[in-house]
Symmetry: C2
Subunit: 341 residues, 2 copies
């Protein structure tokens, strides 16, 4: 009843354990007749290699993982798709682990993955300074931080979020907005903090009111709706005329709720999102957004990880930084009125 092992296969085929191993690992150094007998025995018994034992002996796992900030955000699954391409090509399996914006769960995954001796870990951390990450790397597991810059003792791939925030808000300023809100949080997430910094930097160059920050608990659609309610509730005189959201999930929620509560977008409220996920272009009002090279991010991250895993010694950590790009759509564009077809 217990799962058959190589020993059982050997017994059944009337050969030694070593021979079974040879059939599995160096099939052409065993005579055709024996090979056949062993292969048959394997099939008859339904033998399945025990990866734990292999790994224990051999030391390597052919597996890598991407610990994602939130698997329900399409931005991250797009990044993951990029990493998957590289993993496929290298013959590695990629596991996606959903951190769910939850420190504890992320920590749990990191511990487990290290214990499992994966080849390497890509991670978009809840908290980039989590000492666990440094510890992991220190003990020899290749770690690449994704979508956040890292210090010189780690590889990272990121997009300049300060620049992104600046681009977004500069665009709004150019369009004449002077009272601008930022929607996003918690601030402890690095991307959020950087995007705020960028926004403020743009504001500082202009003659505008200071940034109103609507801090959220999470970066999802529901929180965006909640922000929409908060904004719509303000008296017109105090309501920001534009909102810059920390990501597209928030922006879509905000957009949806704003429209539902009777605000016109962009006339009453202009909206800029971040990430330019596929759904941004298809939104009620197509969403202006700061685009990041998602797949490239994922591919690069996986490549850096592989490089580190292969070279082990003498590996030089790289911090790749890409540039974001503003994609302007209707959510910030004043159109001639009544323009349906």
């Amino acid at each position: 009843m217990a799962a058959p092992s190589m020993k059982d296969v050997a017994a059944r085929a009337g050969v030694s354990l070593g021979t079974v191993s040879n059939v599995l690992n160096r099939p052409d150094m065993v005579a055709e007749r024996t090979r056949k007998r062993v292969v048959d025995a394997i099939a008859e018994l339904g033998f399945v290699r025990n990866e734990s034992a292999r790994q224990l002996r051999g030391g390597t796992s052919r597996t890598l993982a991407y610990v994602v900030l939130d698997a329900r955000n399409p931005f991250f699954t797009d990044v993951a798709a990029g990493a998957q391409q590289v993993a496929d090509a290298a013959g590695l399996a990629l596991y996606l682990c959903d951190g769910g914006e939850d420190r504890a769960r992320q920590a749990m995954y990191l511990d487990l993955l290290e214990q499992q001796r994966v080849e390497g870990i890509l991670i978009t951390p809840v908290d980039a300074d989590d000492p666990r990450i440094a510890a992991l790397a220190g003990r020899g597991t290749p770690v690449v931080v994704v979508d956040r810059g890292a210090g010189p003792d780690r590889c990272s791939v990121s997009v300049d979020d300060v620049l992104g925030g600046d681009l977004a808000v500069s665009h709004l300023l150019d369009a004449g907005h002077r009272r601008i809100a930022f929607v996003g949080g918690p601030r402890s997430i690095g991307q959020v903090a950087d995007r705020i910094t960028g926004a403020q930097q743009a504001l500082a160059r202009a003659d505008a009111e200071p940034l109103t920050v609507l801090e959220t608990q999470r970066l999802d659609v529901a929180e965006g709706r909640r922000a929409g309610e908060r904004l719509a509730g303000l008296p017109t005189s105090r309501r920001p005329t534009a909102a810059f959201c920390a990501n597209d999930m928030l922006a879509l929620g905000l957009l949806q709720q704003a429209v539902r509560l009777g605000l016109r977008v962009p006339e009453d409220l202009a909206i800029v999102g971040y990430d330019d996920i596929e759904f941004a272009a298809a939104a009620a009002v197509p969403l202006t957004s700061v685009a990041q090279p998602r797949q490239l991010l994922g591919r690069t991250a996986a490549e850096l990880m592989l490089a580190e895993a292969r070279h082990a010694m003498g590996h030089v950590h790289e911090q790749r930084v890409f540039e974001p790009e503003l994609v302007v759509r209707d959510s910030t564009r004043l159109r001639p009125l009544g323009g349906v077809a």
Copy 2:
């Protein structure tokens, strides 16, 4: 340089191997002083448990996996979130594996997961009849098929896709449509086939033209756009007045492209999607869609899997079927004209 093992810890703490094991697994049966010494040694050496060895000895992996049809489809990440809840509660780790609508990749993951002796596998298969799935289950790995019905020798959770297709098309028929297209594919995917069946079943009850099937290669936004082009290219006299899409990704792509090419939705083309993903409600024209209880699906799947894993013997396979629900929004609703604000 090699990763330190329990043996190293034991040496450093001046105790035996067994004691280190006790500290790790039954801390309160070792004296406080010794425990402290061992804990310190662990910290000093940066010892990390080797999960392979543990598993080899102990036999169990505390891990489960969900092999998803396509991780970029928010429907599946929502299902996964449901499964994650249950996994968290049970103290298991959940790995997401992206099948990418690719048979070979899915097969690769199944093999690997079995070799890894995961506690169980949830899977939304590219091909529900893949013999590999039966084989897996036959050898004792608990398998739950998600979003597809299964035979009596397997657990499954699904939503009645035939009914869903019927609901969607009945709704269109009620709205007066007589020339209806189905967008989706490939047909080898069970959900697609069932939804077509449902659609045809509704049509058979009405006096309408047979279903025009626009078969796609994949179920993503890009293919939806392509379908939009195809539809818009048809002469008005032959163009369907309504499209039922196999999922919301397709529907959103179709919607986007149709609007871009000057078709009004729903006046020139009504659209019904499937899954009611979060972005459907936020679309350019809020999307009518067939909703499935996504999280519930995931939770139930994980629970069935756990039940099977725990009971091993005497487990009775269950096939849970849920009912879909039509959510009507603007993409099929003829409104009074000019209805802004």
